[in-house]
Symmetry: D3
Subunit: 340 residues, 6 copies
């Protein structure tokens, strides 16, 4: 089977430390031929570092010269939509960083185009590849959970406003803690329920700490230009009466530096995801089950491989274009509820 030709758009940290190493480890399936960035010097440097032949500062040249089979998009959120659409217009599969886009309509259009073109568009929610998530899925399959009816999902940082990049710029990122952190656990929660579209969405967003400034645990941020929410909370209900409680924060007056977890409640058993524990009844008694030897996995490598599986038409648990559109709609409805 011939190798797929891949290009990356965006030459930042996530390309350098996540996507390129994963693609390189999958060199029996994919050949990385170019890096494209508005900043040619960055693109060139990254290409050289990883032994990638070409570097471009515009996609036009890149598509013409490389004719890639697939495109990995690692740019700010507001560029996901135009770049993914352009890539699909060139007949490329697309592996796009999360979140899908900065509006629900964009994500919907992206999904529609992918469907129309018969292309694979997928989003890089790597937590789906953790040992904990694999185990949760296995517990569901093996009937240890029973039907799931409620999920509490949170991804909270005490003072983790990133001090670099565009994370506090709403026009580029589309939002703050919810867009950057909340989507990870929201994606998992939706997965556990079968990715339904919610009935009701109610939510709140706050920016008090972000706009006041203070001690930073992930670099220092500028309160004056802080334009996104530092915390978002929401409640989702679904047609089958299941529900999700969601919390995400860049900054919140809580104890732990960082706290990321899902509590998943089913009729037979409940699970705590990080660290994994199963709470159920066994042998007629309430039982707590721990799994002490879960494997450490390279979640980016597994997710990139899952994307390649999807491109090849094989079963894959990568986040699909359709799921991305649903998730983006949920995010937008949370922001709308908070603003109303």
């Amino acid at each position: 089977m011939p190798l797929l030709k891949a290009v990356l758009i965006g030459a930042g940290h996530i390309a350098d430390s996540n996507h390129i190493p994963a693609l390189k480890q999958l060199s029996d399936r994919v050949d990385v031929v170019a890096v494209c960035s508005r900043d040619l010097i960055k693109a060139r440097a990254l290409a050289d570092k990883h032994g990638i032949p070409s570097a471009f500062d515009n996609t036009t040249d890149m598509y013409r010269q490389c004719a890639p089979d697939l495109v990995v998009i690692c740019t700010p959120n507001n560029l996901h939509f135009p770049q993914a659409m352009e890539a699909m217009e060139h007949g490329c599969h697309v592996f796009c960083e999360k979140p899908p886009a900065i509006s629900a309509q964009n994500a919907r259009d992206m999904a529609n185009l992918a469907a129309q073109k018969g292309l694979t568009l997928a989003y890089n929610f790597q937590l789906r590849q953790t040992s904990e998530w694999s185990l949760l899925t296995r517990c569901q399959t093996d009937g240890l959970m029973g039907d799931i009816y409620h999920i509490k999902a949170h991804f909270l940082r005490r003072r983790g406003i990133p001090g670099w990049g565009y994370f506090t710029d709403k026009s580029m990122q589309g939002g703050g803690a919810l867009m950057d952190l909340g989507v990870h656990v929201l994606d998992l929660a939706l997965c556990a329920l079968g990715y339904p579209v919610p009935d009701q969405v109610v939510g709140s967003t706050y920016d008090f700490i972000g706009r006041a400034g203070g001690k930073g645990l992930m670099g220092t941020w500028d309160p004056a230009t802080f334009g996104v929410e530092d915390a978002a909370m929401a409640y989702l209900t679904f047609p089958d009466k299941t529900s999700i409680m969601l919390s995400a924060s860049f900054a919140l007056n809580t104890q732990a530096d960082i706290d990321r977890n899902l509590e998943i409640f089913g009729r037979k058993g409940g699970a705590n995801l990080f660290p994994f524990a199963l709470h159920t009844e066994l042998a007629g008694e309430l039982a707590d089950v721990h799994f002490p030897y879960l494997e450490e996995v390279d979640i980016q490598l597994k997710n990139t491989a899952a994307f390649l599986d999807a491109c090849a038409g094989k079963p894959s648990n990568v986040c699909t274009a359709e799921q991305g559109a649903i998730l983006q709609e949920v995010v937008e409805r949370i922001y709308q509820s908070a603003a109303s």
Copy 2:
């Protein structure tokens, strides 16, 4: 100052172990003159046990013979409304067990009558008297919290469906985990925000475990007659954009036997209520403050005293008739949302 004459309606556990001992310790302010119960034998036994002169099996005789100044209502939830209305019609102050009633309209009528008659009607939410709540209030007053904008409140039992009484009978109790447990932490959460009326209320209720049966940690329940929710979750938003996340359960597949807490997030500091901790910035650093020597208090005694203060027109932090009406409305809106 002459002693107030008090009577109790209801001769169950809560009268015996909570209200009567508290009233007896406050014998310089109140004189317990009668116990009234549909079951005269129970009423008589309880009166004798505590040295209370009279016992009745109907309120008509009781009001005629005793002419009480105040009435303590310790009956099933569905009786709170008729008994409180009757008491106020007799010109009595009323100290009523929680929850206020089984419908919002009842609680509203009760509040209106109290206002109209100039009587004190109060509800026995004793957690307001814990050292932890006093300290939270003091932290708010001392400016250690800043404006509070979000609260996570939960009161969860893993398998704590009470195996006695009417707890699983909807017609008598009006509901399950939310009515019995959730109202305690909801009352505190509303207090922390100034008892506003919510804008939006969305919620869910479940009864899977209750109807399936299983291991009980508070006696054994009968799945066949289980008629209430075993879990309720809700999200409340308020006109000033503050919000509350609420969870309550009699049964849920979680780890702890029982878990009751409020996490209260303010602009300057956040607090964890049980056990109490304050998370803030101090001397330019993120700081966690613990208070190792909080006093053990008799919360029933303090709450009964607070009710007597209210009767006497003194400042009091007891749950007022108006607050009870708001809380009951919230509860009803949660049930309505869950049913819709």
Copy 3:
């Protein structure tokens, strides 16, 4: 159904604190009519303390006057045999303290007579009634263990040579740590395997610390009259290739004051008994299962009830006469191996 008439032989601690309270709680099934002891004053005092009508200093009078249905034997080990035989000759069921006897032949004769007379002879191994053992049994039944092939059983005290009674007198007790402590865990281990008769038995006994003296944690013992083993270890193999490792000590230079446990290894899962934990594979991963809410049970009450069930021909997990004979044979073979 008429009440069974019960008498106790022996008026010591075990009668006073274990058997009589249990029998009294079972007053709907059994009526305790007499206590018999060589020391009439002790017998009288014990009978009075518990409201038992008669006291005797010889069994002849007792049998003649009381005509009991069942006899509970609470005397030193060397008396179990003659007293049980006499009781059965009088047509009585017998509930005998552990160990069955001080020789294998005695225990075999006792079992034979019980079988011949169609009477219930049972031994008071109460650990069979612990929540942990019930759970182990349930795990076996539910297929969570798989076939069990090896058991490590121990009951070790660091310096727990009893400073009272006849525990160090070989002629009365027949042995030391193995007779007093080891038999408890040996009985459970044999139960878990189906009470097979071993192929090979090899063992060792020691008395170095007992004869040297030292710090006592259960009273002070006299090294000069110390006549039993302070420690016994053994290995048992069975025809189906299963095996048991057994250790018991009154005194051993180990860390814990007291350490009593069984580790039970099966093909599918292994269990640790005290505290209970199950080690197995679940959902494709190695799993440790804990049961945090095991019930506290009155093991004497349950064991006495189990004996009464056996007398009534109902299913019962009490230690039978036949099992007692097998266990006593194992004990004797351990002593023989150690002495050879």
Copy 4:
């Protein structure tokens, strides 16, 4: 003093990571001149990696060309015997990996030839060089233990069947968990007692988990070709009435991933080896002694040096040919007992 000329037979992991680095650090006493392996490429690569001059694919050439003074044998267990015999026939001292051989007779023949030739034959039981074992020995010498009379020794893995090499091939290894792991703790236990020959040996072996397959913690094994025991238990008694309980497993349904320990019981004190603790009486009280600052030692380096000491006729605690023969006999008797 001239340097001894050393050669290694076997070019696997143990040669590469243990023996050669140790020999190289002892370059003032020994000169490594060759590596010999059936696979010349492996031999050459290993020699080059460590700067060793010669590589051979047969011992004949090697002995002729190198005339070594000592041979280090790092091959599968079944080759220890022929290679050690050949080496001694060439007048070489032999440092042989554990276990000594795959039959008791082989190990006996090896010891006899060493004695006859006046050569040093020793086995690489490196745990003798741990700080814990040195301390145990010192405690014995200083009289803190008193005479030792019982030892519990175990080396248990929960799912540690090696997924590489020949560990599950009975013809090459001679056995499984006992041959690979059990011998380490058995050697120490025998040392503590003065390396006596046992009176009685009874044991059991199992292979249920190995043949059923499952989760592996040390690579994945093939249940179909699993030909050794996954667990072995044994009891040894000695002419002076001392005894040893031994357990070893590649796979057992227990909690810890790996658990290796000796509990050593003496008349005055008892010791736990890993981690080291002494349990005794001091100042008239029961005392637990911990030694918080034991030195980390390079046990291979110390054991190789001990072998060289033995070659030079100096005092040494390396495992001797005679001890190896006794140990191998014990192992064989355990297998025989298990098979009978």
Copy 5:
């Protein structure tokens, strides 16, 4: 041997809960015949409670009517001197509460009179009877400590200003934390060194928290009348170059509610007293020795018995009149140093 006739002066808590119960348990050696207090009602009530025949409100009558053999003094510190002198003038042995007196001269005079009269005067420092202190003494005797050269002694409370009695009244108590708490650990420290008279004494006292008020953990104190030190620190050196560091507080901004300990440093070993641990070298390694099973003792009973032993001329470790005089001199020199 005839019983000694004892009387108590002082009818407060320490008499009621410590001295009388101890004396009553020693009824084979001593007969308590009277209680004497300025407040006859209190004296009478206490006497009745414990079955003591007589009660007095003046010592004159008491001595005349009772002719006691020994007197137990349980009054405020300033009365120890006159009452002890009077008792000895009446030929009585004296068992006096700590501290000996409120001035060094008083304590010296008391010791002199005792010596002159040949009477036993002793002080009730009960910590000398703890298992920990007995063990320390035994470790010294057994040579496990070596010569002791430095001791750190402290008795610190965070907010433990007693809210009752005369503890903050300097005229009655002579001082605060040092007089009440510090003397306990100072007495032990001096004992460990052989009760030498110090060369140099330098110290400091503070009263900032006591005079400022605040949260109380042992009742509430009145800052306005707070007349003693809330903290005292001192350093003592002795002619043989040994030294003591001493700290005592009623109130200090430290973490623990209460912290009482001695660290005792010797040439061979060091000991921590509460909880007891020995730090030494054993078997060539640094060793920490713990004694997990120290006996719980009734230290008042043992100290009263030790006093009676002293009266009978038997060996006794009770604090002697001479030791009390030395201790009181040290206390006075600390206060003088602090004031200079």
Copy 6:
């Protein structure tokens, strides 16, 4: 601004691992031009390792050829005085390792010359740059401590006599544990009080363990040449009645390998330095404040920068010449008290 020219005197570990790396990181402010050591080979090697141009074996040549602006002195304690004096005579600022000197007079002369010449002489007490000390200072400034009145400072090693260098040579080092370790915590304690000159100084020194030998945790020392104190304790009082308790040891029979801490007691709050905790009253309750996210800092880099700030006339918290003279006087008075 032109770069300052720096030279180092002394080519040992502290120069190599602390001073040169710090100076190199500050290359925008300082240029290291030479290393000077009596041993030219060492000087040359160190210079080459760090890319420093010149190496000298005498200061005369060094001053003539390099004309440095500042000198860093990293030699044994007895050379600090002559080398610092010479440096200042050459008009150089001096950054001198701690302690300042081996006599109070030397340190006083050094301070006087610095003042007279208008040069910066500073000592390298880097603990002043720890996050903990910065936070303590900030707490003082923010009024969280109140006036500080007592400090307990200790720096204790159990068996940490350095096995290398001159640490046990009194003529070169001037002393032992106090000179090497005690000065660090003494400097901080004096800082917290404003660096007052004490009223009274009383102290003790010991050398029992050092002269006896034993297990070493920082290399092995020679008891025969051990010429310094292995432990020193002292008490200091100041004109304003504040006080310091000081302990330092190379060897002491205590539990922890190493224990370094200051407990600082103020009127409002007390602080524990390592790890940092604040103990105070907040919201009317006793409160313990922890700061979980203190920054890890390069304390040598910060201290060298602070020295350069001082040279440039900027505010700096480096230990000044005057403070060094006071500290050295305290050390000398402790030794004098111990010797008297």
